[in-house]
Amino acid sequence: MELLCPAGNLPALKTAINNGADAVYIGLKDDTNARHFAGLNFNDGKLAKGADYVHQRGKKLHVAINTFAHADGEYRWEKAVDNAVAIGTDALIIADLGVLDYAANKYPDVERHVSVQASTTNLEAIKFFKNNFDVDRVVLPRVLSIQQVRQLAKTSPVPLEVFAFGSLCIMAEGRCYLSSYMTGESPNTVGACSPAKYVRWQETEQGLESRLNNVLIDRYQENENAGYPTLCKGRFDVDGDVYHALEEPTSLNTLELIPELMAMGIVSVKIEGRQRSPAYVEQVAKTWRMALDRCKNNPDNFQVDGAWMQTLANLSEGSQTTLGAYHRKWQ
C-alpha cells in the first residue's frame, strides 16, 4: 500500500520523500489544481527539479490537474497535461471528463487517476471511467463508510486510493458549490474553497469574529481556539440552536483502519495538505511510514501507537481527529 504525500513546494516535496513517502502529489502554479493558493505550487522549473528529485530516489510523482476546465480556456488544462507529461510525471490526477479524454488520447501510456473531485462513489461510475478513459486508479471521495469501501474494493475493475489523513471535506468533493454561493469562487472553478481574499477577522465586544465575504462564520470566546473560516466548519443558528451545523473543525485520521485497508487491497493511502508546511509533511509522512511498516510486518497484531495519534492530533484542525464517513456513526 503506497504512502502518497502532498507537497505544495520543493522543500515539502523533498521532506516527504526523505521521510518515507512512496509517492508525492503536486500541482502547477495556476487554477488547474484544487489547491490554487498564493505562494503555493510548482512553476515549470520547480516542476522539473521536483520530478528529478523524486525519480532519482526511485519514488513516484503524481501531478494533480483536478479542477474543471473553463469553457473559454480548455487549452490551459491541456497545456498543464502536456507540461506534466514532459517532465515525466508518473501519473496525472484528473477530474474533468474533457481533460481525461485529452490525456487518454494523447498520452495513452501515462497513468490516469480519477481525482477525488470527480466524486466517483459507486461501481457503475468506476466502470464509466474505465470504459471511456481506461483509467489506472480511482481516488474515492470521503463520503463512503468503511463497509462501502470494502464492497467497492471487492468488485472494482480499477485499483482504489483512499484519503487517510488531513483536513476533512465533508461534502462529496467536486459537488459542492457552498463556496461559490458565498463568494463566487469554488474548488471546481478556481481551485479554492473559502478563498483567503474573502476572509476577514474582527475583534468585537462579543468576541473575535471570522467572516467570509461578510457572512459571519464563527465568533470565538477568549478561551476558544479560532480556526480558518472554512464555511462548512463554522457555527450557525438552526431554529435558535447555535452549533457546528455541518461539521466541527476537525481532521480525518484513519491510522486504526490501516490493517483493514491493506487487507482490502487498497493501493494507496493519500495524505491531504498541499497547502501545509514542510514541517507538517515531515511529521505526517514519518508517522504514517512507521504505522504502515509496522502493519505490513505484523498485520494481525497491529496496534495504533498513542504517540502517533498525539502527533497527528497536534497537526489537525481544532487539534481533534475523526474517522469521518468511514465510521457510520459520524454520518
Binding site: S119, E124, F128, V143, I170, V215, D237, L246, R328
Partner: protein
C-alpha cells in the same frame, strides 16, 4: 422556448406528492421531472410509485415526463434501484451521476444530463453526447457568460442541434451532497436512526448565521441555498443565447405560479425587483451566488 417543472428536492408525504402532481397536470409546464434525487432512505414513494405517477401524467397530458435519479449513490442496493428506474421501458431519464450515464449508455437509451453532472466545457459535453445525452443542464454555479461561450462553441463545431439546453432558473438551489445527514444532525439523531425526520421540513430547515442572515437550507444529506434562485429578469437573455428549456424547481405549489410568470415574460416582458432577503441570481452574473446583481 419550453418550460419544465424540475424534480421536487424535498421529502414530502406520499399523499402530498400525489396531490402536487395532480395539480401539475393542469400546469403550464411542457416537461415534468419527478423522482427522488437526494436520499435513498426516502421511501414514501418507491420505484413503482414514481413510475406510476409518471406514466399516469404521460397518459393524461401532452407533457414530456422524465424520471430524475439520485445524485450521490454509495451502495450496491442504490445501484439496483437506479437500474430499475433507468430501464423503465418508456419514460425518459435524467442522470444525476455518472453511474446513470453508464447504465443509460449500456441500455443504448438517450438521457438528460442533470445539473449535478460536472460538465464545465465543450470537451466534456462531447464526451456526454457520445454516451447518448440528448439534453444538458449546466452546473448551477455557472454563469450566463460561461453558458454563452459553450453554446457558441457548440454552434461553431456544428453540434448545437445534437442536444437541448435547459437552465435551472427558479427555486432553492441544490448546492452540496454529503454522507452526513444534516437534518438528522440538527435533531441530534444519527443517520442510521434518522426517523425520516426531513419529512417534517417540507421546505428544508433554515441554517442562519449568528446574525440572523439566512445562509443555507438543510435538506437531509443535501445543502441548499436559503434564497430562491430567480432568473425572471433573464428570460429574454436565456431565449437569445439559445436556451431551449427553462426549469422551475418544484419547491412548493408556488412553482405553478412561477411557471406562468416566467412564460409571460416571453410575450410581455417586465422587470421585477428581487427581494434580497429571499431571492438571489448571483451565479448567473458570476458573482457570489447568494447575491442579487
Amino acid at each position: 422556448m419550453k418550460f419544465s417543472l424540475g424534480p421536487n428536492l424535498f421529502f414530502w408525504p406520499k399523499k402530498d406528492v400525489e396531490q402536487f402532481y395532480q395539480q401539475a397536470k393542469n400546469s403550464s409546464a411542457d416537461i415534468i421531472y419527478l423522482g427522488e434525487t437526494v436520499c435513498s432512505k426516502r421511501r414514501e414513494l418507491r420505484v413503482k410509485d414514481w413510475l406510476g405517477v409518471g406514466r399516469e401524467l404521460a397518459q393524461v397530458t401532452n407533457k414530456q415526463i422524465v424520471i430524475s435519479t439520485m445524485t450521490l449513490l454509495e451502495s450496491p442496493a442504490e445501484i439496483v434501484t437506479l437500474k430499475k428506474l433507468c430501464d423503465n421501458g418508456d419514460l425518459l431519464v435524467e442522470a444525476n451521476d455518472l453511474s446513470a450515464v453508464q447504465i443509460m449508455h449500456d441500455l443504448k437509451m438517450p438521457f438528460v444530463a442533470g445539473p449535478a453532472i460536472n460538465c464545465y466545457n465543450l470537451s466534456t459535453l462531447k464526451v456526454l453526447l457520445k454516451q447518448g445525452m440528448m439534453r444538458w443542464l449546466m452546473p448551477v454555479e455557472l454563469s450566463g457568460d460561461w453558458l454563452t461561450t459553450m453554446l457558441t462553441q457548440a454552434v461553431d463545431e456544428n453540434i448545437r442541434d445534437k442536444f437541448e439546453c435547459e437552465v435551472f432558473s427558479w427555486g432553492y438551489l441544490p448546492l452540496a451532497y454529503s454522507a452526513r445527514c444534516f437534518t438528522a444532525r440538527s435533531e441530534n439523531r444519527p443517520k442510521d436512526d434518522c426517523q425520516y425526520c426531513c419529512i417534517n421540513y417540507p421546505q428544508g430547515r433554515k441554517m442562519n448565521s449568528r446574525e440572523g442572515e439566512q445562509v443555507f437550507l438543510l435538506n437531509g444529506i443535501q445543502t441548499m441555498s436559503a434564497y430562491q434562485y430567480n432568473l425572471i429578469n433573464e428570460v429574454a437573455q436565456l431565449n437569445n443565447i439559445g436556451v431551449d428549456i427553462i426549469r422551475i424547481s418544484a419547491d412548493s405549489e408556488e412553482a405553478f405560479t412561477q411557471l406562468d410568470k416566467f412564460k409571460a415574460q416571453l410575450d410581455t416582458p417586465k422587470t421585477f425587483s428581487l427581494d434580497k432577503e429571499k431571492e438571489c441570481n448571483g451565479f448567473w452574473h458570476q458573482i457570489a451566488g447568494m447575491s442579487v446583481a
